[in-house]
Symmetry: C2
C-alpha cells in the first residue's frame, strides 16, 4: 500500500512548535495546492462547506504505540487519542473551505505543518456529523479542550 | 509513503454488491481484529463512543479523478465526493464502538468489505462533530441520502 502525494500544504506553521493542539480552535488560514496531475479531482469541490483533509505527518514516529496526551494524566494507545505518532502517520483534520482558485484551496482550521504532503480530500457530510454522548469527559481524556472552554 | 496493515475487518459484506452506500444507515455489526504487534495501541479505546476507521479500499481504481455519484446527476471530482475510487484509496467511516475484547473491536455502521486492511483508528471527538449549513442539498449532490430520508 503505497501512497502518492496529491498536493502540498502552504501554512504559517513552519515548525512543530507553531502548530496548535487543534486547528479548529484557531482561525489560521492555509492553502492546499493540488498537483496539476490531480486537479481534475477538484470538480465541484466549491459546493462543500467543510473538507476532511488527510495529510502525512512526516515528522511523526511510527514505532510509538502509547502516549500521554497533552493535558491528560493517563497513558493512552495511539488508536484512542489523536497523537500524530502512530504506525501509519496519517493526520486527519476537518477544515472549512473558504475559496477555490484553480488548483488551490484556501482553508481555515487546518493544523498541518507548511510543506506537508496531502494524501486525500473528502467532503464532510451528514454521515460525519454525529453527536457524542460524553464529549466533555472524553475530550479531556484525549487532551482536546472543549470548544466552549477554548473559545470563551 | 508506505502503509502497513494494522488489522483486518471481519464483516458480513463478502462482495462489493453487499456493501450499503453508507454504513451509517444500516445496523450491521463488524469486527476489527488488530494485529498482535499493534494491540498496545488500543489502550483505553473502550472509553470512545465512536471511532474514525481508515481502511484500504483494495478494489478501488486509482486512476479515476471524476465520477457520477449514485443518485447524483452531475459529474464530480473524487475529492468532492465519497467514491472509493481516488488516487489514494483510503476509505473513512465513522463506526460506533460496541465492545472491545482483547485485540478485537466490535463496531456498528462500518461499511468495509470483509478482509479489508485497516490502516488507522482514531477516536471521534468534538472537533470532528460539526454542523453543516447546506447538509440536505450537499448530501444529495454527493449521492448521500439524508438520515431523515433513509431512516424513515
Amino acid at each position: 500500500m503505497e501512497l502518492q502525494k496529491i498536493g502540498t500544504v502552504r501554512s504559517p506553521y513552519k515548525s512543530l512548535a507553531d502548530i496548535p493542539r487543534q486547528g479548529r480552535f484557531v482561525n489560521t488560514v492555509s492553502e492546499i495546492e493540488i498537483l496539476p496531475a490531480f486537479a481534475d479531482g477538484l470538480l465541484r469541490i466549491e459546493t462543500a462547506q467543510r473538507l476532511i483533509v488527510l495529510y502525512w505527518a512526516n515528522l511523526a514516529k511510527r514505532d510509538v504505540l502509547q502516549t500521554l496526551p497533552p493535558a491528560g494524566s493517563e497513558l493512552r494507545g495511539v488508536f484512542s487519542c489523536r497523537a500524530p505518532h502512530r504506525p501509519n502517520p496519517i493526520s486527519l483534520c476537518i477544515a472549512d473551505l473558504l475559496a477555490r482558485e484553480g488548483n488551490i484551496l484556501r482553508v481555515k482550521h487546518l493544523d498541518a505543518l507548511d510543506g506537508s504532503a496531502v494524501i486525500d480530500i473528502k467532503p464532510y457530510t451528514s454521515v460525519d456529523s454525529l453527536p457524542i454522548d460524553n464529549a466533555e469527559e472524553f475530550n479531556a481524556g484525549v487532551g482536546i479542550a472543549s470548544a466552549k472552554k477554548s473559545c470563551s
